[in-house]
């Protein structure tokens, strides 16, 4: 393709957008609105995911140790724990440390502890789990293995809570896929059909160009560029509107609900999400144009 043709195609596409300003504005608006819905969904979904993954990070196993272990025993225990592939970190808490932390937690009722003679609290390991294994099956099987290690008295990991969290996460992923799938399908249909309208409005032009001796690609390429530009601008506009709404909402939230919600905050779309939306806009514009121009080229 020569430089002459490339300039011609870009010029044609931009002129077409200008010549059909009204249709273009309607199309860009429709695309922006449908992407807005997709964007809102993405924000809700990704924020929910962030919240639940912060919950998941709190999943840990506490392995209480038997009394009277030597420091060499403790070191070998730590090695055994760390050797498990699910373990991301293991932090040793001595008897004394356990007591001082307990005291700290009960700061107002220190009197209660005065009656204690010897320190009754066992030493323990706080074991964090790697992300990939933060589900109830993996955690309980790891806990079972810990129980069998000599020197470990008992193991706790909040079994019920982990199980509930796991099933909630599964449900969320399924709901996300279903809703996201439906929203995406709607966006695909709306955008590609709207782009088609811009082409249908010029079906006669396509026929005339072909009769003059234009090749299929000569007619098609400006429409494809136009589709890409319209899709991209529509998607960009939706992100800009979404960001405006987001800023406004966050201001209101921090003013009115800051106390209620504490440190709660909503994250905007991530850069990869923004890139995906823009790319999807371009691709849908291209696809809509491609399919509809093809229909009128048989002259």
């Amino acid at each position: 393709m020569s430089l002459y043709n490339i300039t011609h195609f870009i010029e044609e596409a931009l002129n077409n957008i200008r010549r059909n300003a009204f249709v273009t504005v309607i199309t860009v608006g429709t695309i922006a609105l449908s992407f807005l819905i997709l964007g809102v969904f993405l924000i809700i979904f990704s924020n929910l995911k962030d919240i639940t993954s912060s919950w998941q990070e709190q999943i840990q196993i506490v392995a209480y140790l038997k009394e009277g272990l030597s420091s060499a025993d403790i070191t070998s225990l730590e090695e055994k724990i760390r050797a498990e592939r699910e373990v991301s970190s293991a932090h040793f808490i001595s008897k004394d440390k356990a007591l001082s932390e307990f005291k700290k937690d009960l700061a107002n009722q220190t009197g209660l502890l005065d009656g204690l003679g010897e320190n009754p609290l066992p030493a323990y390991f706080e074991v964090k789990i790697k992300k990939a294994y933060q589900d109830s099956g993996a955690v309980s099987s790891l806990a079972e293995r810990f129980k069998k290690i000599k020197g470990i008295e008992d193991v706790q990991y909040g079994q019920e809570w982990v199980e509930n969290l796991s099933s909630f996460l599964d449900l969320m992923v399924i709901a996300g896929l279903v809703v996201g799938g439906l929203v995406s399908l709607a966006v695909i249909l709306i955008v590609s059909n709207t782009v088609k309208l811009t082409v249908y409005a010029r079906a006669e032009d396509i026929e005339i160009m072909k009769l003059i001796g234009a090749t299929d690609w000569f007619v098609k390429i400006p429409f494809l560029i136009e589709g890409v530009v319209i899709g991209l601008v529509g998607a960009f506009l939706s992100i800009a509107i979404l960001f405006g709404i987001y800023q406004l909402l966050m201001q209101r939230l921090s003013l009115n609900a800051g106390i209620l919600l504490g440190k709660f905050s909503i994250a905007f779309l991530s850069w990869p999400d923004i890139a995906i939306l823009l790319f999807a806009g371009m691709l849908l514009g291209l696809f809509g144009s491609f399919v509809s121009v093809g229909r009128f080229l048989k002259v």
């Binding site: 010549r19 059909n20 032009d205 005339i208 160009m209 009769l211 001796g213 090749t215 000569f218």
Partner: protein, 218 residues
């Protein structure tokens, strides 16, 4: 230049053309005439490949057009200017842009396009309408613009389907004078018309069709 051998064309079993055989020589100016529905437009459509299914053989400049693949048709059309009764101008483009488009299609350099388009529009008396849109022009002006677009790349053949169908006698004669000029410069001109007055005045070869058959040729 153009040869047709036993060409028939059917629309849903209805014969639009029946066993047409004719030869048009290079540089000729011929009329195709006949009442509405006689097959004039169909015959022209076969020539510029707007209709592609037919019986028989059509040769244009020695090439059998039935054998042309879809991708080769644009190149045949570039050697052929077509003028339509309804002008078929691109409504969202100026007259200059309409004419220039024909040259852009063949990849002509910009400066050359400007020169040629301006020259042909001046020749047809439209130099003051370069920046006007088709809708702002009278019927006669639109038809002249359509002719300008058809001849700007100096095609070997000019096909005009009822080019004066919407115009009065004086404007019609003006258009035919232009077509005559183009013919004098070497272009083969084929015009479909049922305008008797024009036919009588122009004194050219006439092929008369009736119900899809040639009833007179000469």
């Amino acid at each position: 230049m153009i040869q047709m051998f036993h060409v028939s064309k059917y629309y849903d079993n209805y014969p639009a053309l029946r066993d047409i055989s004719l030869e048009i020589n290079k540089g000729e100016f011929i009329f195709i005439t006949g009442p509405s529905g006689a097959g004039k437009s169909t015959l022209l459509k076969l020539l510029f490949c707007a209709e592609r299914s037919y019986e028989g053989q059509i040769l244009i400049q020695g090439r059998n057009i039935a054998r042309l693949s879809d991708s080769k048709i644009p190149y045949l059309r570039r050697n052929m200017g077509v003028v339509f009764q309804d002008y078929k101008l691109l409504q969202h483009r100026t007259i200059y842009e309409n004419v220039a488009f024909t040259l852009k299609v063949i990849g002509m350099p910009r400066s050359e396009i400007k020169r040629k388009a301006y020259f042909v529009l001046k020749q047809l008396g439209l130099e003051h309408k370069l920046d006007s849109f088709p809708i702002k022009l009278s019927g006669g002006e639109q038809q002249r613009a359509a002719i300008a677009r058809a001849i700007v790349n100096e095609p070997a053949i000019l096909i005009a389907d009822e080019p004066t169908g919407n115009l009065d006698y004086n404007l019609s004669m003006e258009i035919f004078e232009i077509l005559k000029d183009i013919n004098v410069r070497g272009t083969t001109v084929i015009v479909a018309t049922h305008n008797r007055e024009v036919l009588n005045k122009m004194q050219r070869r006439i092929i008369a069709l009736e119900k899809g058959k040639i009833v007179s040729n000469g």
